[in-house]
Symmetry: C2
Subunit: 164 residues, 2 copies
């Protein structure tokens, strides 16, 4: 059985191809080259690797397509990226630029298990009624700004008893 494991770089190619297909419906070598910022000869080499592993279909001078497996991988990575980005900006308050950069690197480092917990965490954080921040998150924002823990309610709740 061929080795299907992917490096971060190869994952980036899949991700880029998926993103391009959403915009353009058809993906050429040049698009990928521009999107990732490498020469098209590098894209070519990457495509050879990726089609060898069964993640893309590509015939000489033709368009580039993801196989179902390729789409799955690309989707997973994109989901990781999204969850990380949301966490970094919503919870930690990192600005979009840096949050994005960090998410791009971290998306390759995070396990599926961590991803799924993180995604649930973000549901928990965001899913609260009316799209408002939960109170504890406001508390954290306050802590960041002032270095001081919020007084009052949160404080008391923090030292309470059991589960609902």
């Amino acid at each position: 059985m061929r080795d299907r494991k992917l490096s971060s770089n190869m994952e980036d190619y899949l991700e880029a191809i998926a993103a391009l297909k959403k915009e353009n419906d058809v993906v050429r070598v040049r698009d990928i080259s521009q999107s990732i910022g490498v020469k098209s000869s590098s894209v070519n080499a990457a495509l050879k690797t990726l089609s060898g592993k069964g993640y893309v279909d590509h015939e000489r001078y033709g368009y580039v397509k993801l196989t179902p497996d390729g789409e799955e991988v690309a989707g997973n990575i994109q989901s990781k990226h999204d969850a990380l980005l949301k966490f970094l900006s919503t919870v930690l308050g990192i600005n979009k630029g840096i949050a994005s950069e960090d998410a791009c690197k971290m998306e390759h480092a995070i396990s599926s298990q961590t991803f799924s917990k993180l995604a649930k965490f973000m549901q928990f954080v965001e899913g609260d009624l009316n799209g408002k921040k939960p109170e504890w998150l406001k508390g954290f924002n306050y802590y960041i700004k002032t270095g001081k823990r919020p007084k009052c309610k949160m404080r008391e709740l923090a030292t309470e008893k059991k589960e609902p």
Copy 2:
């Protein structure tokens, strides 16, 4: 001016050297080799790179030492690792094994800015009186377990008004 930028791999070497020095007071090529899991010829090559960049002192057949800059970098990475590990296990509830693996990879991907916010977040989470989990975190644990949002207090607090 020489290039002082480090790859993830080189950062790992610095981290390992720092950790070994804490245990043994003196660090040899072989220790590093075992700790990282590469052959000593690889360690040798890495040390050449690292001393070229000014992060380690190493003379033929001698012990390996970090320069002050090397210690600083190692310390930074270790701090990132610690913050990530704490977050993954305390907040997301990932088991130590996977949390550790993930932290080892993420520590190279996270910016200083994200690190410092994450560290503050963990202070905020952990620093609450008596080392008890804050109520919202229990709420999240409950959500993870049951898929249901906790009723009662948290719910109400989530839809409240302003800052403390």
